[in-house]
Symmetry: C2
Subunit: 352 residues, 2 copies
DNA sequence: TTGTACGCGTTATCAA
DNA sequence: TTGATAACGCGTACAA
């Protein structure tokens, strides 16, 4: 009941082990005749070469590790699909580790990848820069990530220099600008932003503030404790708290915003929920823009205008870049993709 | 710049490679003195044992493969978290393969796992039963899956016998019954079901029909082409199509349902959207129950009553079961967990 | 083209 | 307890 080895295949095909090895790596210098014999033997024996042995003997394992923050994040799921696509087509298998769980188990994801002898790593979540450097294999950063001063990616990411660890991401600040431009184009001037913690939210918020100032509007940011629907709903009330209402037409009070940019789709839903609870008509009295173009944005009940980063494509490019780093000598180059606005029914011109 | 090996550690600690190996597997039969010396050497050399070599030399790789249908499915993501938890704590690393992508790349996920020499597989998606059998390693089925007549799990799954491949799942038919009982308890009698393709939807629908008949009500099932919000919305209109309305009070027309059980949360949202488009008040004129207790069910805007299967726990148990099969002689036993109803605001007593 | 020998980093099996 | 040595399955020369 033992697994067949390359020796068994060679014997059955009546050739040497070397030849079998050559067929496996489909070398061009084997006669069609012998090749067929070998392939037939492999089929008959139901032979599958061992990646373990190949990795041990060879110079690479044809596997890469992906460090992920949170599996429930749909952004990652999409990016992961793109990653898998470009990596699998290059013959690389993928193993994943999420930082949350590993932290819970007090297991450094990078240590796991070291033990696995991966040929490269994709950083889609926080990982110790020092650990990555010690790993000694190519790495790419996938998506926006908090970049500390000592980050492996350096500071030049996207600014023209080619860092040791390229950053492949969507330009999320540009996404924030897009949202503001869209709302301003509809005629809105009092546009608020519901933001939250994390690097992505930070970039999106930054783009929002930039564009607001560019247009001569006053940025108005409210930050939630988390980037969730509930957290956004909890703080959205502040948007109306000090504002002029029918009951409170005091001087000095600020006019309430007519539009809100939420840094992700669930938070946009939270804002809509809060608005409805406060008796404001949606979308007539409050336009809302989300971010990520998640499935829920397309729900008829919401029909959310949102910013799409095409994370699948970003993931695919990250995979390509990593493979080129592993296989070639090409110097890695960071990429930043421009997002686009998906217009739906949650944004309309302001009332009056 | 080469990686340190077990030889280096042995030399530095002044012991044999065998002893280092024993320390690695923390065997009880090594003197505390030597052990400390070895550990110190490992630390100083920044040594990480190679899983490749260990797998090649040993009898197992301490890795398991997970076959997944669709990564975007939140159910899997939750279950995966549970799986990772129970497997990682046993020292097993995980590699995943989704059938959709692999099919696209014409790559049999099981073949990949064979090459990786995994110690076991978790089937959370469709996989060729024959391929699994040929793999020759323990396997568990995670979640409800279409069971063909020749399925590896056999037919006895959950019916008292212990099949070769145990099934660890939530009792989804019971979930359907729960939903009906809840609605009936509120006073509803005309309860419809919006179902779709797939094993899970089938089980949920079956539970619905069972319970409806038990209560003496007439089952009323409408099936969507997919299990998505859009597909559900597209067919929900049928629920009111032939029904008695103010404009069409013809004899023989059927009364419209006062409640709907959708086989998942997005579909429930689709039903609500369709109801609103048809001018029916929600939830006053139409109560809706979803399934899976996905994050969106908790959104204030929806506040969906839903059935929760606690997939994380199911995943965790699947991991435990697989580990016990790999390591022990315990005979595997299928498990079926009872779901629970999460009551929110989308279900109310019928009008009048 | 083919055969041969060796190395890859561990575990497993015996001896000591 | 410890240590030597043989697998483990394959890549990579190198020589034939």
């Amino acid at each position: 009941m033992k697994r067949p080895t390359i020796y068994d295949v060679a014997e059955r095909a009546g050739v040497s082990k070397s030849l079998v090895s050559l067929v496996l790596r489909d070398s061009p210098r084997v006669s069609a005749e012998r090749r067929e014999a070998v392939l037939a033997a492999m089929r008959e024996l139901d032979y599958t070469p061992s990646r373990l042995a190949a990795g041990l003997a060879g110079t690479r394992t044809r596997s890469v590790g992906v460090v992920i923050d949170d599996f429930a994040n749909l952004w990652f799921v999409e990016a992961l699909a793109g990653l898998r696509e470009s990596l699998a087509s290059g013959g690389y298998s993928l193993s994943v580790a999420d930082t949350r769980l590993n932290a819970h188990l007090s297991l450094d994801p990078i240590a796991v990848f070291r033990a696995l002898r991966v040929d490269g790593v994709v950083l889609a979540g926080e990982a110790s820069p020092e650990a990555v450097r010690r790993l000694g294999v190519p790495a790419v950063v996938l998506g926006t990530r908090a970049l500390g001063g000592d980050d492996v990616a350096g500071r030049g990411a996207g600014s023209g220099t080619d860092p040791a660890v390229p950053v492949i991401a969507s330009d999320e600040a540009e996404g924030g600008r897009l949202a503001v431009r869209h709302l301003a184009g509809l005629g809105h001037r009092r546009i608020a932003c519901v933001s939250g913690p994390g690097a992505s939210a930070g970039e999106r918020e930054r783009g929002y503030s930039d564009e607001m100032r560019t247009l001569g509007f006053e940025p108005n940011v409210v930050r939630a404790a988390e980037t969730s629907e509930a957290a956004a709903r909890a703080v959205a009330g502040e948007l109306w708290a000090g504002s002029r209402t029918a009951e409170r037409p005091t001087a000095g009070a600020i006019d309430a915003p007519t539009a809100v940019f939420a840094v992700n789709d669930p938070m946009a839903v939270g804002v809509i929920g809060a608005a409805r609870a406060a008796g404001r008509a949606f979308p007539e009295e409050l336009s809302v823009v989300g971010y990520d173009d998640s499935p829920l944005a397309a729900y008829a009940l919401l029909s959310l205008t949102t910013v799409s980063g095409d994370s699948r494509h970003v993931g695919e490019q990250a995979g390509r870049t990593l493979v080129s780093m592993i296989e070639g000598a090409e110097r890695p180059v960071s990429m930043r993709f421009v997002p686009r606005l998906v217009e739906r029914a949650s944004t309309v011109p302001p009332a009056r």
